[in-house]
């Protein structure tokens, strides 16, 4: 053994010597080529030892890295969360499986600030269908990327669903994927749930649905124009908005899903009324807003008459203190009748304000195929002021006693075609000043009405996942007892055992 070691040592010294000699030769200036130098560097002992270790380490590390990458790609995950937060529901699974278009879900989040839950859920979609892929786009690096599809400013952590087959896109702001509630004691909102799946799935539904409802707004008779809130909201519920001048049109376009008549100031011609009637009788739907000023438009009134609705002359004034807004007795706050349109407004407890409204009545003379249902009704103390220029707000002679309907839904099923018509007494219901107020239900009333007449099935019902904190029931005494046990008694027992063992060993 010893001999061997000394042998090794002598070998080493000899090696070193020869190396030195080589170095000396170079120093002397004989023309040693670079190739020789390189060769020499591979022969040094230091290199041989180090190279072996380095190569082995490198290979092992690379193998481990590759193994990790493979396992990551396999994406084997088990959702053990209580709510099944990271598992898609069957509603989504069934819907996504049938998607034929190529869809890209862009997750617009700053790198490093991605929301874990959102990421996890979005990544589940491509696993369901080969047509869906997920891409990450950093909105800071690519600020103009989303503008191709969505013109407004985008928020971090939002999602953009793009259907490349038909170039339709839907943007989901980050806030929409969080369900929050406001604590009215502190006026702070806190998160109660997440709705990533619900939003993404309904966006998928939007970008893949074949025919989206188109709303035609009638123009040419001084109809009130729609405000920006209404138009953007229509976009959100996937309704395309168009306008039509009935005077110059031959017929109502075939793709029209809902015809909006917003308080005409001048009368329609009989031909136009015939055209609209024809459209409606074929199963067309309409949303009609009337104006108290114009109850005398004969042809327009005949259209309403045809569907069993008539406008009461004058302006409705509310006598009941609980049914008008502030000091304005003409800013009516009607009651909701039980109807599909008003269900959620009723349950949310939000109010609708109908300013400067005319009363509506259903006609007994209506055809038997027609069914009418009230939507908004005034109180019993309401009356219609026939002299609209009167300066006296209280009830006068000649005023018509209420109650009145302020909104009526009409349906007629004839020859298997269902016509749906919703008539409101005030066009101010959808005035920008009313719909832009988030405390009022006016916008929702409008959107619900559109959804009702267009028979738009609710977006796929995917439940939101509750993230609300769950609590235990621990009494103060129990808490104290267990705290002392855990923090003091248990560690002391462990230390005591240790002390005992160590002491006993020493005594031995």
């Amino acid at each position: 053994m010893k001999d061997q070691i000394t042998d090794n040592k002598t070998n080493e010294t000899i090696d070193n010597l020869t190396e030195n000699v080589a170095d000396d030769k170079e120093a002397i200036g004989t023309k040693a080529s670079i190739a020789d130098k390189i060769k020499a560097s591979f022969k040094s002992r230091k290199f041989r030892g180090g190279a072996y270790a380095t190569a082995v380490s490198a290979v092992v590390i690379i193998i481990i890295l590759v193994l990790n990458i493979i396992v990551t790609e396999l994406d084997l995950k088990v959702d053990i969360s209580k709510e099944g937060t990271f598992t898609l529901t069957d509603v989504t699974k069934d819907y996504v499986k049938n998607i034929k278009d190529d869809i890209t879900i862009y997750y617009l989040a700053q790198t490093g600030q991605e929301d874990k839950t959102t990421t996890e859920i979005i990544q589940k979609y491509p696993q369901l269908s080969g047509h869906i892929k997920v891409e990450y786009k950093d909105p800071v690096l690519y600020p103009s990327f989303a503008q191709k599809y969505y013109s407004d400013a985008i928020t971090n952590n939002s999602v953009l669903v793009v259907n490349s087959s038909n170039d339709r896109a839907k943007y989901i702001p980050a806030g929409d994927m969080i369900v929050s509630e406001v604590d009215y004691n502190t006026y702070q909102s806190y998160q109660t749930g997440i709705d990533v799946e619900g939003q993404v799935t309904s966006a998928l539904q939007y970008v893949t649905t074949e025919d989206l409802p188109v709303m035609y707004t009638v123009t040419g008779h001084g109809e009130a124009e729609l405000g920006t809130t209404i138009t953007t909201s229509l976009g959100k519920i996937n309704v395309t908005s168009q306008s039509i001048n009935t005077l110059t049109s031959e017929s109502i376009p075939e793709d029209c899903s809902v015809l909006l008549i917003n308080a005409p100031q001048k009368d329609y011609s009989p031909d136009e009324v015939t055209m609209i009637k024809e459209y409606l009788s074929k199963g067309g739907d309409a949303l009609i807003y009337t104006d108290y000023n114009t109850s005398s438009l004969e042809n327009f009134a005949s259209l309403l008459d045809y569907y069993g609705v008539s406008q009461v002359t004058g302006l409705v004034v509310e006598g009941s203190r609980n049914h008008y807004m502030g000091q304005y007795m003409t800013y009516l706050v009607p009651d909701y009748s039980t109807h599909e349109i008003t269900t959620d407004l009723k349950s949310d407890g939000t109010y609708v304000v109908a300013p400067l409204s005319s009363g509506l009545q259903t006609l007994d003379t209506a055809r038997s195929t027609i069914t009418t249902a009230p939507i908004l009704v005034t109180s019993d103390e309401a009356y219609s002021k026939t002299d609209i220029n009167s300066t006296n707000s209280s009830k006068e002679d000649g005023d018509i006693d209420g109650p009145f309907n302020l909104g009526i839904a009409v349906t007629e099923t004839y020859n298997e075609a269902e016509t749906k018509l919703v008539v409101y007494g005030s066009s101010a219901l959808i005035d920008e000043s009313m719909v832009s107020s988030s405390s009022l239900g006016n916008l929702d009333l409008f959107l619900n009405s559109v959804n009702y007449v267009t028979d738009k099935a609710d977006t796929l019902a995917v439940r939101t996942v509750s993230t609300e904190q769950q609590y235990l029931n621990v009494t103060a005494a129990q808490a104290n007892l267990w705290s002392v046990l855990m923090v003091i008694v248990l560690p002391v027992i462990v230390l005591g055992t240790g002390g005992f063992v160590v002491l006993r060993r020493r005594k031995k």
Binding site: V78, N473, V487
Partner: protein, 287 residues
């Protein structure tokens, strides 16, 4: 291996070290448990574990500093390395001994969620998933500590270096999101990283030809990738560091995802650092 394992484990429990570790660990877990689950009555045991994940910064150095450094100082390592056992067996024996001390503490912690059951319902799946994640996290950190300990003779240096290394991994997560994400900066960082790797290779092999060849090839590949597809470099730095982040993997477990890749990742960390420790020891033996 078993002999070394037994000897090491015994040494932990015939001295106070093992008991102090377990007791200290239980005190910290106990405090968080009392505050979260008992005082505030929150029905999530995983909050306790994610709250105390910093515990390793303090505990792992204490546990691992003496592992290799002590032997080296007392020169008992010579005895071990001349023994017929292979170095990898010695190292794994030592590692599993320390790991067992930690596991004993974790077994006690396993009872904690059960205690809460008497006060109401809580998700045991997430609770035990987090305990699994926490155990893997600890195992990975202990292996890092063991490696650091093998680099130095002084216990104090070993402790301080492990402390700093683990602290950096804990803080990295929150710092990573502030790193620049544009592809130019990322490219530059990786450019520098390759230079560093070359320097490392050179210092290990003392051969500039290999180091330079690998360096030039690496830089060329990087540059070509960058010019062909710069989008690939968007936020790459954040992504790479995030992928390596020891803590981020643990978050998966506490949010309720049992991810095989995280488990494999932790086991890989354990393996790589044990392997590197063996390499370091072998190098010492040659010298």
């Amino acid at each position: 291996m078993l002999a070394i394992f037994k000897k090491e484990l015994k040494s932990y429990f015939t001295s106070m070290t093992g008991y102090v570790f377990v007791a200290f660990f239980l005190v910290i877990v106990g405090i968080y448990y009392a505050v979260y689950n008992l005082m505030n009555m929150v029905a999530n045991f995983e909050y306790v574990l994610s709250g105390i994940s910093f515990i390793f910064v303090l505990l792992v150095p204490i546990l691992t500093m003496r592992l290799m450094a002590e032997d080296k100082k007392q020169k008992t390592d010579q005895l071990l390395f001349t023994s017929p056992l292979s170095i990898s067996k010695i190292i794994s024996g030592k590692y599993f001994a320390v790991l067992s001390v930690f596991l004993i503490a974790m077994v006690i912690v396993c009872l904690y969620p059960l205690i809460l059951l008497q006060f109401g319902s809580l998700s045991l799946k997430v609770a035990y998933g987090s305990i699994l994640g926490f155990t893997l996290l600890g195992a990975a950190y202990i292996s890092i500590g063991l490696f650091v300990s093998s680099l130095t003779e002084s216990q104090l240096v070993a402790a301080v270096v492990s402390f700093v290394v683990i602290l950096v991994t804990v803080l990295m997560d929150s710092l990573v999101s502030f790193l620049p994400t544009d592809n130019r900066t990322c490219y530059l960082v990786f450019f520098v990283a390759i230079l560093l790797i070359c320097w490392l290779l050179y210092s290990m092999m003392h051969n500039y030809v290999v180091a330079l060849t690998i360096g030039v090839m690496g830089e060329a590949a990087l540059a070509v990738t960058y010019f062909v597809k710069p989008a690939l470099f968007d936020g790459l730095l954040t992504k790479v560091l995030g992928w390596f982040s020891v803590m981020a993997r643990f978050d998966n477990f506490t949010t309720g995802i049992l991810d095989l890749s995280s488990v494999v990742y932790y086991l890989s960390v354990v393996f790589i650092f044990l392997f590197l420790t063996v390499q370091v020891i072998k190098k010492h033996r040659w010298n």
